[in-house]
Amino acid sequence: MNATNTTTDTAHETHVDYIGSKMGMWLFLFTEILFFGGLFLLYAVYRSSFSQEFYTTSAQLDMTIGAINTIVLITSSLTMAFSITAIKNGAARLSALYQLLTIIFALVFLIIKYYEWSAKIGHGIYPGSDALLSQGQGTIIFYSLYFVMTGIHGIHVLAGIVIIAVMINMTTKNKISEKDFVRLENTGLYWHFVDVVWVYLFPLLYLIG
């Protein structure tokens, strides 16, 4: 049915399979769903074993900070979506601006997370610490999940920042334009996915207690 063939001439890719490119990106996101999924599986199993301790330990996390971070990330998704609307409308410079805003929101997220982690680590709470190991098993597992899940999520945020920075560069050099924007769109897909992961992390880690 779909019989578009692309040339293998990589010197100048004049023919881009737009749908194929998006399909590839979605397939990559499926791998990310299963990657984070493994962590959510662990969470689910341990939550059901240690429901009481998860309840009490979750209350030790600052819900307000978590909520603020959620709003920050959701807004970064908005600016990312704006950047796509802009490029499709031919407004390349506006698109680059929205991409920059996205990075700024992402940095804010990471900075808030840094302070959150610092506070916990300052209190001696981190994987393998004596203060943590002296507590109940459910508490140990909860904090391990907290650090590992938000940590791996944070690495994905960082990677996203780098990728968006590359996109800004390409947008300003007209390599991304209304004629060829699939790479920006795929970046948007990645970014929204990172947001979705946090949308689940927030209630599961912060809102139990």
């Binding site: 049915m1 019989a3 590839g24 397939l27 990657f35 493994g38 341990y46 994987p127 140990i140």
Partner: protein, 535 residues
Amino acid sequence: MITRESRRGFYSASGKYRGIFSWIFSTDHKRIGILYLISILAFFLIGVTFGVLMRLELIAPGSTIVEAQTYNSFFTLHGIIMIFFFIIPGIPASFGNFFLPILIGARDVAFPRLNLLSWWFYIIAATLALATLIMPGGPPDAGWTFYPPYSIKTTTSVSLAAFAAFIVGFSSILTGLNFITTIHRLRAPGMKWLRMPLFPWALYATSWVQVLATPVLAITVLLLILERSFGVGFFDPQKGGDPLMFQHLFWIYSHPAVYIMILPAMGIISEVIPVFSRKSVFGYKAIVFSTVAIGVVGYLVWGHHMFTTGMSEEAQLIFSLITFIVAVPSGIKVFNWVSTMYRGSIVMAPPMLFSLAFVFLFSIGGLTGLANASVATNVHIHDTFFIVAHFHYVMFGGTGFAFFAGLHYWFPKMFGKTYSQRVAHLSCIVMFLGFHILYFPMFILGWQGMPRRFYDYIPAFHTGNLISTIGSWVLVTGLLIMVINLLRGLFKGEAAVSNPWDGTTLEWQIPSPPPKENFETIPTVTHGPYTRSQE
């Protein structure tokens, strides 16, 4: 006019790189396929070496050539190398890369640069895996399955080995992602889904498993590394963790992984048998259906590796039931292959001989799988040599022999040369015999209670082990005959024609070796892949 250049097809240098760089920086799927083929065969031989060393140790009770610690590293590395660097990438990365685009009438895969990246990930990962041999702490000794608590406590280079597995996972994911997109987007005009040959179908199902299962391995080995480095505690009972959660996560990948191994192998057999039976394949749709079914159902059986661990009874029974169910589509395929041969005109060329060996060996492996799948017998044979024999029959007798079948089938097309069919027949027979001598005694030894992963055993098991080790020498002899025969063909063989086997699929309509962009004009497909003109 056939010049020397045009006879060399895609081997003629082009593009901006010269020499070795025109290969290792190439985005041509055919060159990448050959890069993978060479890498995979190299690591296969390294894996074989570890296997031979293991058998040397086991030729007699007590310490023969090494002590326990070294033996543990042998079987760990044997497993890691064979599984992650030979069998999983094996067929998809080599023959899949080379032939998928050609079989569907395309010029290349959907993402040629990601294709090259996937090979580089493979090479980096393989280097890291080999590096564990010389790292402080010594090579890993926890088995390729890395179970905690031992994998957490051991001071050997488990983290590095686990990281190598993490990286090679990316290689696998990129291949899968590429193939899915290629098959959806780049089929030639007229090649509807149900006109696609069975090898691409097999690659399609395999690719989905690669995409959806490999990430679970990634997170698992990452958590293992975090556990060793920071003591997070997910698998440590003292901290509230559960070692069984590691096993669940591990097998959620590693069982579907065996279907990554076998589906492409079955795809090759489905290509070879019709050609050498001079008949269209029997039950094309049934094979398609069972291919997909194996991919789907194979996802749901992982618990059968954990029957003896203390899993709940409910889980044991359900996993056992689903495991029995997944054997059905495999059985369907065997019936289809045999039915294809019935009333066919059999040509016993080397690819066919290897394929018949596959059917026989895979059937034994599969049937013994049912013995393992029954919880009652599993309790008796888990962690014994019965299991070792079972998986070697399916993975080596199955995927391994199918790999050799593909190698002999597609050799003329890939290299434009021919090999001695007589010597190839000999190598197949020697390997087949060596295989049984090596592995069949293991069924008996395992049944009698000999545990796996031990460098020593009680004297009662001596005879079986002695026979088995001798079998390993016979098998390796056959391997060497095969390798030498193919190398000789590569360098001194006569030129091959486009269609030496009278095949009906698209790769046989283009020159041997293929030109750089495969087809002068993209063909329009008007019939199924196995229709013969006289039918």
